[in-house]
């Protein structure tokens, strides 16, 4: 393994320390494993909390800040944080009678910790609701079998904007749910990542192969095939996504192409170009787009392609200002 690290035991602490030091005007380490905004919101506004493992930077803590998250609860490398930290973040968020919305990416450990924490929060009569994201279409027909991939980003964005505007918890929840229900993602991997603690590769893939449907931690997907061109890969993936979301001519989409860690921006842009061409040929409107790294898996090569059906309110919330370490919009 060739990585610039110190000791495996201190990876998470050191990366969070670096994040907080790099963006001192935006975020702070509220306590070990909890990243919070430097300036908290007024008490009458809904606070947004998320949770997830480390090693996926800039996800998820990189989106704490104005217009998006209020708290990010951070777990070990590729491992969900436990319920105790989630409870601590919820108590902080709800202190003084504030309401909070917890956004949970659908992965076994995250869901378990979130559910346990939610039970405790409800027992303490805290005003909190939770929404689970499951945008990966490779998981099968049951939505609860589908993993949460980069589709968390528009959910953070629109719910965060709604909260910033002073919308109620129910309104923020409704916006988050609508965004989530209209989002679909598919991933493709061409090369494995190494686990930064153990140094071991997390899956094997032949030099000339790619796998569509690969999860965020190298969980196997559905289709392993010979490596295809950018255009061909974009066509296959986009058509699967459009089918799954049953997108009709004239509808408006948000498209995100998210790099897995080792795939260059050059490649991501070439893929995105083909996506835009296909949408145009089908008469589907590309309302908004983002191309870059929002959630990664170390040096895994590949990308996630995400589409989301937008309406006027969702576009308006997507366009609202945000000022977080890794998502800034004036």
């Amino acid at each position: 393994m060739k990585k610039f690290i110190n000791t495996p035991e201190h990876l998470v602490d050191e990366l969070l320390e670096g994040l907080a030091l790099a963006f001192p005007n935006k975020i702070k380490a509220a306590s070990p494993g909890i990243i919070a905004r430097q300036q908290s919101k007024p008490a009458n506004k809904v606070r947004l909390i998320t949770l997830g493992g480390s090693g996926h930077e800039p996800g998820l803590s990189g989106f704490v800040g104005e217009g998006m998250l209020d708290y990010s609860v951070v777990g070990g490398i590729f491992a969900a944080p436990g319920a105790p930290k989630c409870v601590e973040a919820i108590r902080n968020a709800c202190a003084g009678g504030s309401s909070a919305l917890m956004i949970v990416l659908n992965h076994a450990g995250d869901v378990l910790s979130a559910n346990i924490a939610m039970e405790i929060a409800q027992h303490e009569h805290l005003d909190i609701k939770a929404v689970t994201t499951h945008d990966d279409i490779s998981g099968g027909s049951d939505p609860m079998d589908r993993r949460g991939l980069v589709g968390f980003l528009p959910v953070y964005k629109v719910a965060g904007a709604a909260a910033e505007r002073g919308h109620s918890l129910d309104e923020c929840m409704a916006v988050a749910v609508r965004m989530e229900k209209n989002t679909r993602t598919l991933s493709v991997a061409t090369r494995t990542a190494t686990h930064p603690s153990t140094g071991a590769p997390i899956f094997d893939l032949g030099e000339d192969e790619m796998e569509i449907g690969m999860g965020q931690h190298g969980e196997a997907g559905t289709g392993r095939m010979r490596l295809q061109s950018a255009d061909r890969t974009a066509e296959v993936m986009l058509n699967m996504l459009l089918d799954h979301l049953t997108v009709a001519k004239g509808e408006e989409l948000l498209v995100i192409v998210n790099g897995a860690g080792a795939t260059t921006l050059m490649e991501l842009l070439i893929v995105f170009r083909r996506v835009a061409q296909i949408l145009e040929s089908k008469g589907i409107r590309l309302a908004r787009s983002a191309v870059g790294e929002f959630i990664t898996t170390q040096e895994q090569a590949g990308f996630q392609m995400m589409i989301a059906r937008m309406d006027q309110q969702l576009i308006d919330l997507w366009d609202a200002p945000a000022n977080t370490p890794y998502f800034v919009q004036a």
Partner: protein, 202 residues
């Protein structure tokens, strides 16, 4: 009892990580080492807490190692054990009630059961063995020995199963042939529990 369980985990942590690497990301052994730390902390002799409180605190601390689903499930189990009615002196019936309470707490959080290639494949038969020993008026040492045996058989049985939960689920039939790392962890914990009681009685 916790000390022996922690030792059993420590002895096998490399195997646990190796098993995890077939279906997960290969860090289960590391997570379980941190769980073992918490089990050892629980039996700090300076602690004069009520037994149930010790279980509850241990559960909370195990969840706090932030090790994904494994530590969440194990923490829920210990925390659930602490919710049982019981005093500091426990007979075999009391022990069965404590373990049942742990299992019940987990079943509130997950639908996973025997046959899904998870920790439950070892845990459910182990708790059933304690119940059955209590039903036939056996002592705690015997009950835990049977539980360790049942957990071990349960973990073995996961070799032929297809994973239905967690990350391994997405590998489907590729998981056949390898024991589930979580189930093996459970069998180690019960082996430790059994060794603690049975060596003390010898």
């Amino acid at each position: 009892m916790f000390a022996e369980a922690a030792q059993a985990i420590r002895d096998q942590h490399a195997t646990l990580s190796a098993l995890d690497s077939f279906a997960g990301d290969g860090d289960h052994g590391t997570t379980m080492l941190r769980v073992a730390d918490q089990l050892e902390r629980a039996i700090n002799p300076a602690s004069s807490l009520h037994l149930m409180k010790i279980f509850e605190n241990t559960g909370w601390n195990v969840m706090g190692v932030d090790g994904g689903a494994s530590s969440a499930i194990l923490g829920t189990f210990f925390r659930g054990m602490g919710s049982a009615e019981g005093g500091n002196e426990v007979d075999c019936h009391g022990l069965a009630a404590i373990f049942q309470a742990g299992l019940k707490a987990i079943s509130k959080q997950t639908k996973a059961t025997c046959g899904d290639k998870t920790m439950m494949d070892a845990l459910i038969p182990a708790v059933a063995a304690i119940d059955s020993a209590a039903g036939s008026q056996k002592d705690i040492g015997y009950a835990l020995e049977m539980a360790a045996f049942a957990a071990c058989e349960g973990a073995e049985s996961t070799k032929s199963l297809t994973a239905k939960y967690g990350r391994a689920k997405h590998l489907g039939e590729k998981t056949i042939g390898h024991m589930d790392a979580g189930a093996y962890s459970i069998s180690l914990l019960f082996a430790g529990f059994s060794a603690a009681l049975n060596e003390r009685n010898k």
